[in-house]
Symmetry: none
Subunit: 193 residues, 4 copies
């Protein structure tokens, strides 16, 4: 009850532990699905369970944190592309990149899925950030005639989620071919020009 604020700065070692747990959780959940036990995460992080629960008071909170972390990274990447010279190429590149790295990992596609929808909490924050970065990119790509004009961010995200998820079962090449088809679908039809 020292300061009062929402989230004291956190001692250096505590911050380090939080990061370790988060990283371990990402790895474990990606590898074994969200059903993996908290214990396993603790072991992977090299800390006691108590520590996991101190930082993330609930398993759900831990899962959310993993998603947020992922969204944050995606948002940053999208942000970095927002002003790219060739918006169309950037958008398609981002799509491909996301889908590839998701590579069927539950934890990642989960994060993506949340971005397309309005979940409460911090998740929303980064989801929104990514959405808006994507929105700008999409608008520019459409203005440039690289993407058909009747597509919205929502569909775009849904398709990213979809192709990512498809990869959970299909192999890498099938996923790549599916992605190619979707990207083609996003291009303007000849008739539209």
């Amino acid at each position: 009850m020292t300061s009062a604020g929402a989230s004291r700065p956190l001692r250096a070692d505590a911050r380090r532990n939080r990061a370790r747990v988060l990283a371990a959780a990402e790895e474990v959940f990606a590898a074994k699905g969200t059903g993996a036990s908290t214990d396993e995460v603790a072991r992977a992080a090299g800390v006691g369970i108590g520590t996991v629960f101190r930082h993330f008071p609930t398993k759900e909170a831990l899962l959310a944190a993993v998603l947020v972390d992922h969204l944050r990274r995606l948002a940053e990447q999208a942000d970095a592309l927002a002003d790219a010279r060739d918006a169309g190429a950037a958008l398609f590149g981002f799509f491909t990149h996301v889908v590839e790295q998701a590579g069927g990992k539950n934890a990642y596609t989960g994060a993506l899925a949340e971005a397309g929808v309005d979940v409460g909490g911090t998740t929303a924050e980064f989801g929104a950030r990514m959405r808006s970065a994507l929105e700008r990119l999409l608008a520019r790509a459409q203005r440039d005639g690289a993407v058909r004009p009747d597509v919205g961010v929502a569909e775009l995200l849904a398709l990213m989620v979809g192709v990512s998820r498809a990869g959970e079962h299909a192999g890498r090449e099938v996923q790549a071919r599916a992605a190619a088809i979707v990207l083609d679908g996003l291009r303007p039809r000849a008739a539209d020009i």
Copy 2:
């Protein structure tokens, strides 16, 4: 040559109960995910747990049965379309239909996902049946110039799974628009003609 079953015709009441359990399982798993408890399925079916386990000796077996049941239905529908006059329309119609009825229900997309991959057991049987029906439809649609020639069943299924899954979070309209984009991506490009 039915992989395992066939033991005996099953008494009338037993068959009725088996069906009730299966229906309940489909509903429960679709609504709450495959994590729902067997107890809940039993309650939903209005039978004792013992009955559930008598018919499906393992939770996994129950889940598999749900999938098989779905695949069976899908396979039947695909079969029915195999000789349709307009193969392209039939294929697109099937795609839309599947994606719509999946409507984000775990159990359904799960079934679909299995079809694209070679899981062992009875699941494979119906998955294969559906794949081959789809294969015929696809080949004809390609011959008719309704679908681009470089698409395979694997991608087709992957996209069906993907769009279905995308619907788990996105709303109905977003899903529909995503589906439209994918279908467009499947059509031959102007240049190809």
Copy 3:
């Protein structure tokens, strides 16, 4: 509610089934221990579980019946020996025979164990019969100087049980040597003569 008596004569096929169940039970319990399920007994007997429970209203009852059956056989064998020329040899032979055929089978040693004690019910009946046959044999062997005079049936039975049980873990030869030692212990000491 036809006759009234304690146990109607039982239809021919019913009697046959009872015997089949009993035989199966003996085999199954001997092989897998008394923990084996009633279902397994039914399957081994080639009848439905309902039939098992019709003849033996309880698993305990079934176990008891197995014991009784075994005791009955032992009693008959003991009876047959009661008038043997050489009582000592007969007694020792019986001991060896019992111990050998028990061969570590739970079901059999169980039966034996019950014989030495006053359990209620039918078990007692055959236990008593065997005890008395053994008693006569023992008395004669003692009169002949083949067995030390201070031994009672109770100890004799206890030792039969004990050596039989020892066989559950030890191998056959060890059991045989143990039996030899016990038999030696039963003989009169040199000094006693």
Copy 4:
């Protein structure tokens, strides 16, 4: 080279609880047989079931631990006697002692039985220790002419198990008389001298 344990010294309270669980298990299993439920053991120990399973990850493991604990005690007692002045008296005393304290308690005779056989795991360790202590005692007793020369440890153990087990049904006095007969059987015959 302790087979599995040794991981870490175990916190003081944890060690206390482990001991409590073990003691409770010994009591419960001795009283009601190994079929008694783990729940019952937990209740008897005054801890939650979770605690039982934390210390003994399996019911089988718990049973094994009970056996090991007993074997350890027996091994210690046998060790203590190994150098006794009068080896014969010590051996007979040990036999009697073991048989008496087993007193028909399942758990105890179980432990004994395991000693005579080579079960894997830690059980073997203490079983072996006891066997070798007994071996030395036996050899000396035989050299002193207190025990017939053609007896091996295996038989000795088998007889200890046997007489202990016999006590499960027979009363205390009958068991004592049976033990006396066995001990007599172990002595050298007059003719052997």
